[in-house]
């Protein structure tokens, strides 16, 4: 989703803190349900929402006022490009040789013809951007997703995806610049720029969600599954959603895209519309 880069950028600030938490979390990790650490996750979610409301959101708004759209677009391209070796390394770790070769081409073209990545000249040439990271690589290798996590300053994550926090540091070109007077301000700009880019997505969550924590968690987990499957629609899971659940008691924490029981056929009405039998047989032809 549009938040992919924002999440990556937030990681660059939250890494140190988050990694410290991981040792603790690894001990807490249990099986059963996608969110066994919900109590702790909700606290961190509230903390992240608070810091966003108080700090990141006003800063991002100010940044959008000051920086014109073309400048922001170029900075987005630049930060995306310096982080792109992470995609390339994970392409090859997943055995996606062709995709890896194409992504090397994308990185080289954008770094040269695209003036250090400020302009995305590779996409019009057919070298499309891909999303790969250590979490997706581990998933491809068969490692289980582990519990859902909300990490302070980082946001939604899963235990399997946490190695991305480390790998993202060492695969970012800025790490090898070796001049902290340059890389620290750039990293701060990366986070602010990414937060500004995520404004519309965050607005979407605010407008659509009636429980923002659950909405964010399920959207994140579904989207990660989608990426894990190479961007293919999880048709089987989506079709299973169309089967209404039976009288089974509600689970404590229903997993996203859970398998429900066979559907009944009640008749209900919507005001202003004739009564409709739910899912009658298909019309002829």
């Amino acid at each position: 989703m549009a938040d992919d880069h924002y999440l990556q950028a937030r990681r660059s600030i939250g890494r140190a803190f988050a990694l410290g938490c991981l040792l603790f979390l690894a001990g807490c990790a249990t099986t059963g349900g996608p969110d066994p650490l919900q109590a702790m996750n909700r606290r961190f979610y509230a903390f992240n929402s608070g810091t966003d409301r108080l700090i990141m959101s006003p800063v991002a708004r100010m940044y959008k006022t000051v920086a014109p759209k073309p400048l922001r677009a170029s900075l987005t391209n630049f930060f995306h490009n310096v982080a792109y070796p992470d995609v390339i390394v994970n392409d090859f770790l997943q055995g996606r040789i062709g995709q890896g070769a194409g992504d090397i081409g994308r990185f080289v073209v954008n770094s040269t013809l695209g003036l250090l990545g400020l302009f995305d000249v590779a996409t019009p040439l057919g070298l499309k951007a891909h999303v790969e990271d250590a979490g997706l690589t581990l998933g491809r290798w068969g490692v289980g997703r582990g519990p859902y996590l909300v990490l302070p300053f980082v946001g939604p994550d899963t235990l399997r995806n946490t190695p991305s926090l480390v790998m993202g540091i060492f695969t970012n070109v800025l790490y090898y610049v070796g001049n902290s007077a340059l890389t620290i301000p750039l990293t701060v700009f990366d986070v602010i720029n990414a937060r500004a880019n995520a404004s519309s997505s965050l607005r979407y969550v605010r407008e659509n969600a009636v429980d923002r924590y659950v909405f964010t968690r399920d959207a994140y987990l579904q989207h990660r599954n989608y990426l894990q499957d190479g961007g293919h629609l999880p048709l089987k899971a989506v079709e299973q959603m169309l089967l209404p659940p039976g009288p089974a008691p509600a689970p404590r924490d229903p997993p996203p895209l859970a398998d429900p029981a066979p559907r009944p056929s009640p008749v209900i009405t919507v005001p202003g519309r004739a009564p409709v039998a739910i899912r009658p047989p298909a019309p002829p032809g």
């Binding site: 989506v238 959603m241 169309l242 509600a250 009640p266 005001p271 519309r273 047989p281 019309p283």
Partner: protein, 213 residues
Amino acid sequence: MGQHETGRRWMGSWAVALLWMAMAVAPAWAARTEPAVAVVRQFQNTLLSVMKAGKSLGFQGRYRRLMPAVRASHDLPYIAQLTLGPYWNKLSLAQHRAFVTEFARLTVATYAAQFRRYSGQAFRRTASRAVAQGDVLVATELTTHGHKDATIDYLLAPTAGRWEIVNIVANGVSDLALKRAQYTAIIQKKGFSALLSILRAKVTELSRGAPKR
């Protein structure tokens, strides 16, 4: 050389056969999915027209224009039922009606809030195919000035003799699954009445416009 030539002829024959099969099957396949595609096309055209007039219409105007379009294209009672998961069967008929009413209002209010203004958006239909249970999947892309913003897949089911949208999946995220996860979580913690109140409050909030953050 001769063997090479034979291989080419063999491949050529297969290509012709496959092409013939594709031509024979394609019209039937298209005829099967075309009514469902037409529903999506009409709904997306309404969305675009509402967006283009979004500012002058205001929230209430967009809501009034979208309500009949959503009712005509979405199987709201069925979607509403699915969003409550196992709790649906525990509710009375009056509660079903109350929930479907609020669900319909929230669905339309959400569209009216989301599609508030036009800045070069378009929908591009990429594919359509029949899937399990006699449903049809219509794959589309939302673009802005020709650049892809999101993949939006519509799942349509044949209901009472016509095709209706029963789920929308954006970038692999099922709207139905998201709603079910939230609604069942709220019922579990606070009960059905609280859910109804929350949905009503959400519609009011959307009608006033979300705060900028």
